[in-house]
C-alpha cells in the first residue's frame, strides 16, 4: 500500500481548474520531487492533502485511510506535516514556543492542572521543552531559542518551519519550496539537513522546488505537473530529457511565431 495515494483529484476555484484529474502515489520512504511551472497547481495539491482546502472531487488516501472531510489538525495528527511556501510562523512569539506549541499536543494535563500549575503539568512542560530544544539543535537554531520568530533571517525561518513540522513526528513531510530565497551555501546545508532528518525520522518526503539543483540532488523520483495534471514522471535524469517537460517550462518550439 502506498504511503500517499491520490486518485482522480479535482479542485476548481470558480472557473479555474487548479487541479484536474490528478493521480499520484508516493511509496513509504521515497523522496519525491514535485516540479512544474508557476500556477501548475503544486501548492494546491499540498493544501488539498493537508485539508486546508476541500477537494471538489476525487480521493486522497494516507496509509490506506481516506482523508476526506478531515480537519487540518486531524490530518496533522495522523502524521502529515508541512511547511509553507510563504513562511507562516507564529511571528510574535519565541523560536522555542513555535516548536513547543506543537509538542504540547502530546501533553495530557488539562485546563485545571494548567491553571493550578500542578507538579505533573510542570514536569510535562519541562519534558516538552527539552524535546523542543533537541529539535532546534537539529536544525541549527538551538542558540536562538529565546528570540522572536520574526527576528530570524529568512533561511533560519525556513529551518524553524521544518523543526515545527518535525515536532509532530510525522510519517509524511511536505516541503513547499524549502530552498526559496537561500544562497548556494545555505542550499547545500539544507539538502544535508533534509537527508539527515529523513533518515532520522524515517520520513517519506514530497518536495516542491524550483531550484533544479536541489531536486536533482535529493530526489529519487520526480513528478512534473502542468495545468493541474501530472505530465511526466521518472528519475531526475529522465525528466531532464523529457520533451513535454521542456515544453511546459520553455514553450513549444515555434508556438509564439
Amino acid at each position: 500500500m502506498p504511503e500517499l495515494e491520490i486518485a482522480g483529484l479535482d479542485k476548481s476555484f470558480g472557473g479555474l481548474k487548479a487541479v484536474s484529474g490528478l493521480n499520484l502515489a508516493v511509496e513509504e520512504g521515497e523522496l519525491v520531487g514535485l516540479i512544474g511551472p508557476n500556477g501548475a497547481g503544486k501548492t494546491t495539491v499540498f493544501n488539498l492533502v493537508t485539508g486546508l482546502v476541500p477537494a471538489t472531487s476525487g480521493e486522497i488516501r494516507f496509509r490506506g485511510r481516506s482523508l476526506r472531510g478531515l480537519a487540518p489538525h486531524r490530518i496533522f495528527r495522523l502524521g502529515i506535516a508541512r511547511t509553507f511556501q510563504n513562511i507562516r510562523l507564529f511571528r510574535e512569539t519565541t523560536v522555542l514556543d513555535n516548536v513547543l506549541v506543537v509538542l504540547d499536543a502530546r501533553s495530557s494535563y488539562g485546563l485545571a492542572a494548567a491553571a493550578l500549575r500542578t507538579r505533573r503539568a510542570v514536569a510535562e512542560q519541562e519534558r516538552a521543552r527539552r524535546e523542543a530544544r533537541e529539535l532546534l539543535d537539529m536544525v541549527g537554531l538551538g542558540s536562538r531559542a529565546g528570540e522572536l520568530a520574526r527576528s530570524l533571517p529568512y533561511g533560519a525561518q525556513r529551518r524553524l518551519e521544518m523543526a515545527r513540522a518535525l515536532a509532530g513526528y510525522p510519517h509524511l513531510l511536505l516541503l513547499d519550496e524549502p530552498a526559496a530565497g537561500m544562497n548556494p551555501s545555505e542550499v547545500r546545508d539544507l539538502c544535508g539537513l533534509i537527508r539527515d532528518v529523513k533518515r532520522r525520522f524515517g520520513l517519506t518526503v514530497l518536495l516542491i522546488e524550483h531550484q533544479m539543483g536541489v531536486v536533482m540532488n535529493l530526489c529519487s523520483r520526480v513528478v512534473v505537473m502542468d495545468f493541474g495534471q501530472v505530465i511526466a514522471e521518472g528519475s531526475p535524469s529522465d525528466i531532464q530529457r523529457h520533451s513535454r517537460v521542456l515544453e511546459a517550462y520553455l514553450g513549444k518550439r515555434g508556438s509564439r511565431s
Binding site: 486546508l52 487540518p72 489538525h73 508541512r82 510562523l89 507564529f90 512569539t93 494548567a114 512542560q125 529565546g146
Partner: protein
Amino acid sequence: MGAGWRVLTRRALFPLAATALYLAVRVLAATGLLNAYWRLVLDQALILAIAALGLSLIYGFCGQFSLGHAAFYGLGAYTAGLIGKTWGHGDPLWFVLSLLAGAAVAGLAAVIFGLPVLRLRSDYLGIATLGFGIIVKVLMDNSNKLIPATGGATGMTGTPAVADFTWVFGTTVLVIYLVRNLVHSRYGRAWVAVREDEVAADAMGIDTTRYKTVAFALGCALAGLAGGLYAHRYPFVHPSSFDFLKSVDFLIVVVLGGLGSFTGTVVTAVAWVFLLEVLRSVLGQAFLDWRGVAYALILTTVIILRPKGLLGGKEWAALLPGEERGRRRDLSA
C-alpha cells in the same frame, strides 16, 4: 545553598508582594490617608482588572475581537446580585456561591453563543458580540417583567454590600495567579498560535475551534466573576453600567496594556480607573462632557508613542513563574 535560597525567594516573591500591598492599603485606610472615596475607586480598579484580564485572554492572547465584554460582566452582576439579594443576606458562603454562579452563567452563555461563531475564521466574533451586548442590555432593561426583583430599567438595589477590600483584593490576586499559569501553559501557547496565524495553527495540529471556545468561555467567566464582585461592592446595579461604552472601556485597557501581556492589562486597568477619577476631580461637572475627548486623546497619544501598548507584549518579570523568569534570563545571556 545560594541557588536553593534563590529558588525559594523567587517562589515567595508573588505571595510576599501581594501581602505587602494588601497590608499597605489596610494601614493607609486605618490612618485615614486613604479615605472611603478612594478606597471605592481602588476596588473599582481591581474589579475592572479582573474583567479586563478576561478580555486579555480572549483578544490579547487568542486574538478574538470582542465588542460585548460588558454584557458578560452584566450577566455576572445580575446573577450574583440576585442570589445575594434573595438568599444571601450578607452570608459569606452564599456570597462565594453567588460569585461562582455569576461566573458560570457568563461562561455558559459564552459557550452557547460562541460555538457557532468561533467555528469561523476572521472577525465575525466582533460583530456578533456587538449584537449580543445590545440584546443583553435590552433584556436587562425589561427583566423586571419576568423577575421583578431586578428592577428593570430603574436598576436593582438591595444586594448586600459584602465585598470589602479583602474580598476584592483576594479575588484579584487569585485571578492573576490563575491567568499567569494558564498563559504559560499549553493553553496559552495554543492561544497565541491561533492569534498569530490561525491557518498555520490548524495545519500544525491545534484544534483552533476548541482553543478559541475555551479562551472565550474562560474570559467571559472572569467578566462574570468581576460583575458579581461589583454587585456586592456597589449595591446599585443598573443596565447602563453594562452598555457598549463599558465594553469599549475593557477593550481600551487591553489594547493600551499591550496585546499578549497580562501584567500590562492589570497595570493599565488600575491606572485607567485612577486617571479617570483624577480627571473627574479636576474637571468636575465638565468631565461628563469631556470624557469622550479625554478617551480619544489618551488612546491616540499612547498608540503613537507606544504602538504595541504600554508593555508591548512583554511581561513584568516579577509576576512570571520561576522557571519562565530563569529561562528568559538564560536565553538573553
